[in-house]
Symmetry: C2
């Protein structure tokens, strides 16, 4: 049987820990809130605890495990697995790979979560292996995992795919990173929530506000309101869709990929509200030569895509 | 000795034909205006004529030639070598590779000119081989040649690197392609000329106007005026520089390349006016993790970069 891998999807709000095989069999998984309030060491403690529980519950002995693969928010250096000043985790230069190797004793590989997701999509998401695949995640942040000629492209030091910081409007909204009009400041889940909050502050979007728990509006409430036909929510989503089309057309011109696969919380949660017809719209925006090749899909791996990527990574790095 | 290659840089305004070796020795070259007014077949006639002359002048017999490599304006399909609706050449779906093979009898490879330039830069421009290199040309148009893991990345059908059609301002200037705020509509030589003409039409930039031959202002006159300290020309260039920095910072986030090399007519002609300090400015705009790796240079291969790329391509495609 193929090697056993511990798969970790370390997210800004929640963490998934799974165990599976490099063949793509996810045997078990557990989810818990990421303890980001404290030190990164506390988050590691929690991960180690959950790994131990998961192995015990599934009768997997330590010597059956071949390695650990982690997808974490960027920016991350590769292969050192150092998480740099991650705005979403609030960690600064934390040597996650080293810390986990010391605590667990297995070999550890750490990749940018969206790169890991791209590996998952390439190996287990598509029936056909598209050698040039872009995986674009719309979630708290925005990023891309890049597969080129069937291999993950990380860039010089693991910093490729930060499309969340592609500026598409120099007069646009201020981004966490200090620039204006970054993709992430415009179409991320966080950006959508900010836009909704602004409407409420203007005394509009009263229906949206009525849906908010403790005054907090997220992409989820926007989606619910839009499904009910609320005009403010629908307008927000129409803008979102327009911006997403522009971004996808940019990516088609830059990468001319075989396929773009969308995923992440925003996509999972609002697919019914924006996805239909988007391929045609992007096709209309790009050069005629690119049009026949425009192929845009939503991942079938759902919220486990990073875990699947971790299983694929275990195979690639040859944990034995 | 290494194989002999005919190298062709087919440009929108001028064409270069050279002969050289795959080792990077450019033996001879000739330049002439591209006859784009007539049919593409007329341009091919002219190329064939110049090739014959060049071979005769340099005492190279037909059987010493191993193949022909052409860099041409995009979009181009690879490996078919079909030039699609090229806005700059005014040709539509012309099978350049097939036409040249039939006329000349040697194997022909056709690449996007900027991709060819990237090959030239990778093989003969840098002392060190940077496996992840972006070559960005600012000329009549704007484009990028992408080297990833030491190989040219063309995308699914040869359409990668069309960064001239990365929208960076949805409310910006109208582009030839029909969208607004494309890179090409903002910082190409053509865009600079349009911006200068607008100033003249507003009754400003009188010094610039006095430099114009037959009322035509190009990037060349803008550069001359800026060197003389003309405030309108300087303002145009300051804007150009700011936009270029934004675009380069986008590319650093998207590709995290080992190096970005700039070339093309605008860069060659105005290097003294905008290049100094640009690396530091881009560094300040990108994520902290990307900063140490930001490396931006101007090509040392000058106006012959595409010809050098053709020689490299001849080696890669194994003309024998």
């Amino acid at each position: 049987m193929s090697p056993v891998v511990i798969a970790i999807d370390l997210g800004a709000t929640k963490t998934l820990v799974g165990v599976g095989r490099t063949s793509g069999d996810l045997l078990a998984r557990v989810q818990f809130p990421t303890p980001i309030q404290g030190s990164p060491e506390l988050a590691v403690n929690e991960m180690v605890l959950k790994i131990r529980q998961l192995l015990a519950e599934n009768n997997i002995a330590d010597d059956q495990v071949n390695g650990v693969a982690v997808g974490a928010p960027g920016p991350i250096s590769y292969p050192q697995g150092i998480i740099y000043d991650s705005p979403n985790l609030g960690w600064q230069k934390f040597a996650l790979r080293q810390e986990l190797e010391q605590r667990l004793g297995w070999p550890v590989v750490v990749e940018h979560d969206v790169a890991m997701a791209a590996l998952g999509e390439f190996h287990f998401g598509q029936m056909k292996r598209y050698p040039n695949l872009l995986y674009v995640t719309l979630s708290t942040g925005v990023g891309a995992g890049i597969i080129i000629n069937g291999e993950l492209y990380r860039g010089s030091i693991g910093g490729a795919g930060e499309i969340g910081h592609m500026v598409i409007d120099p007069h646009g909204r201020l981004c966490n990173c200090g620039r204006r009009g970054c993709t992430e400041a415009i179409i991320s889940g966080t950006a959508l929530a900010i836009q909704a909050r602004e409407l409420v502050e203007q005394g509009r979007a009263t229906y949206l506000q009525s849906l908010a728990k403790d005054g907090v509006i997220t992409a989820k409430e926007i989606a619910i309101a839009a499904r009910e036909g609320d005009s403010d929510a629908c307008r927000l989503l129409a803008q979102f869709r327009e911006n997403l089309q522009l971004i996808l057309a940019n990516l088609v011109h830059i990468f001319n990929p075989d396929i773009i696969v969308l995923g992440g919380g925003v996509v999972q949660g609002m697919r019914d509200l924006f996805f239909e017809g988007i391929e045609e719209e992007v096709r209309a925006q790009v050069f005629p030569m690119h049009r026949p090749g425009v192929k845009i899909e939503v991942t079938r791996l759902g919220g486990d895509i990073v875990l699947y990527g971790c299983l694929a990574a275990g195979g690639i790095w040859g944990f034995e």
